[in-house]
Symmetry: C3
Subunit: 304 residues, 3 copies
């Protein structure tokens, strides 16, 4: 098996073999991520962290992944502690930090910045979220979570729930699941449906996709409820928002006739009630943990 | 000897044996803290640093302790660089970072947050200060400083000086010294005396406590002057504050008939004059250093 | 060969032998900085980073240098995440962090702070820029860049271009080049010429210095164009600024009759056009990289 990517920019650059390669390596990394085994395979290596936007999970899990493998990190956690405040342009900063390190992880609020960075530096670039663009390592850990908890990706039925119009996470995940031929249901308010363009792409791959605005339509059929936040700002009328929000809130009561696991990219606000956290349904903290072995696999695969 | 704590939340959870255990391990750690010996006993281990409030000494000495033992750290140094700015709730952040790491250190401006965190994560939690609450690792390093410089804790006479009403440091230290049967004097302005509740608790343990508002009453008798800051905000009348402040400022002139060492949790403002810094009285920088071996002992004792 | 410095405060504390020592050690460090070899010569050692002002290059290259050699860092990247916000005075912070670590790197906006710090702590102090004062590690990497790319320092002709009145980088570099007897040309607008005092010092060393306001005077003669930014704030009349700026902008067209390499301490704004970046002239990113082996050499030379 081989891994064909020099950078991790978009899940759409991946083929199924690339994804399976990462998931397989991640499984070997798990005992190290759990601190049951120790490793120094990235000893002496440096990861550059360029976080122009704050982040807890993504930043800390990349750092944890690098450090558990014996490597180190340098960088900044927000634009304010970098020379960006002195007016330095983005490409110069990226080139300089690329000179210091073996691989870069970049988060930025502007779509396209990760691909631009990859074009100008000699080291591999990992996109950790570029605005409305891509967040491919999130998709990889989402797939890994399904595989580890449910044993498979292909013969699953996955419901994507919430804001499917603006959510970059669900767009990337839908494309990736389509590669595996996974059955999908899309559950959203009428105004926040999956964009037509993506629906066309998915239909062209031959996967079955079912759309609904009522979560009760899918509850008893699906293996996974993948929930995302619905943002108030999307609704001109606050009353409309409150009505919608209630209809898409997942709680224990709603789940009692379901066998689905509940996933969420986090942070959540109130779209999943806290009474789900410690039930067998709630897998979002385990999902967050799986970010570490998946990012270990990515770092190991990119660093020569 | 055994150590009974799973977490470090409040010094009041400790018994004398727990404290003596940490002090004994800290002594073995000193050559490593001084960089005279090197160690990798925490190699591959990860400390999560959740600092919702800025801090220099506490944060840096925990990081120094972890790194001198071969371990690594991940986290944030202020709420601004975490997802707290995206409205993520405290408990979700703590659970997620707990998934990535082997132990958490938490500083927060709200009392009770450390104990709450310990209830929801699987890894040990260390309270690095929770608002008006506790700061137990400060108390342990205070005790260690006395033991290392004066050779004992029990047969000392310790004066706590300054704001004894609001200072969490002196509250915790008083309880801990009472466990050792140490003689105490409390020196404070009348309006900033040790709270009645704590006085009752101390009297119940049978230790001797003497209260005064005049520092000259204790100068020639005590082994330790433990000084804390008196904050201007505590006084409605600025003139009253200035008068009080002068009476509680420690300088070389005042100390010349004393044999006490001067300790301070830092940061100081002007309650200890700089002319004390390089005299044999001034031990507060050495005290700060002792934070490193004490925190090494704590980390080693908690991480499995 | 020996290295005589206990601290790195100003390039003017160095003699030629000190500089050559660092440049020679840096050359041995290059394969480690490029991650072609690994090293743990600073394993267990701690570098304290006190950055009261934000910085990308200097901070990250020091961290990279320390970590590539197996060491660790603790500190802060801006005053906001330290106790400076609680009003703690500078000297107390420096003394405390000096207690935790083996060497300090300090950046501050006030001239003289690095030398003050060196007087009060027991560990070596490295000045990473103190306001209008010095930035000696920048000068060392500038010299290293010339030596590595052009093979020598002495028999070069170096043009310093731009704001020579206020730029601390060019002041330090001019003094250092004078130690080597390097021929220099100073190219600046009439109002931003090298200060008279420095000109006198340089003339006393016997080196040849030529001043001009027209960059075309030097283009065909020099080996190095060392470019610095001209800041708008220096000009009362914005029209005057725009005219000057245009005359001191380096682009490919201007360089086509030159054989000089172009260096810049970065960050640049628009004084070097992006069309120079990937030509054989543009060496400023390579120069940034050389910051890592040079700082490795400094750290190794100071840490016992």
């Amino acid at each position: 098996m081989v891994f064909n990517q020099q950078n991790i920019i978009s899940i759409r650059d991946f083929n199924k073999e690339d994804i399976e390669y990462i998931l397989r390596v991640a499984e070997k990394m798990e005992p190290i991520a759990r601190s049951q085994e120790s490793s120094d395979i990235l000893s002496g290596k440096l990861l550059g962290m360029l976080f122009y936007e704050p982040s807890t999970r993504t930043r800390l899990s990349f750092e944890a992944a690098m450090k558990r493998l014996g490597g180190s990190t340098v960088g900044f956690a927000e634009a304010g502690t970098s020379s960006a405040t002195k007016g330095e342009n983005f490409t110069d900063t990226v080139r300089v930090v690329g000179e210091y390190t073996d691989v870069l992880v970049l988060r930025h609020n502007m779509e396209g910045t990760a691909r631009l960075a990859a074009e100008i530096v000699d080291v591999p670039v990992i996109n950790a979220g570029d605005g409305a663009g891509q967040h491919p390592t999130q998709t990889l850990l989402d797939l890994y979570t399904m595989k580890r908890i449910l044993g498979r990706i292909k013969h699953l039925h996955v419901a994507l729930v919430g804001d499917l119009k603006y959510g970059r996470t669900v767009h990337s995940l839908a494309y990736a699941l389509a590669m595996f031929g996974t059955k999908m249901s899309f559950v959203s308010p009428p105004g926040l449906r999956m964009p037509r363009e993506i629906m066309d792409d998915l239909n062209n791959t031959g996967v079955t996709v079912h759309e609904t605005s009522d979560i009760k339509d899918v509850l008893s059929h699906v293996d996974v409820l993948y929930v995302t936040r619905i943002q108030k700002e999307r609704f001109p009328d606050p009353q409309e928002y409150l009505k919608i929000k209630g209809a898409y809130t997942i709680d224990s009561e709603l789940l009692k006739d379901s066998e689905a696991i509940v996933m969420h990219p986090l942070p959540r606000v109130d779209e999943i009630a806290h009474d789900v956290d410690n039930t067998p349904y709630g897998k979002y903290f385990q999902q967050a943990f799986y970010g570490v072995p998946v990012r270990m696999a990515i770092l190991k695969s990119l660093i020569k």
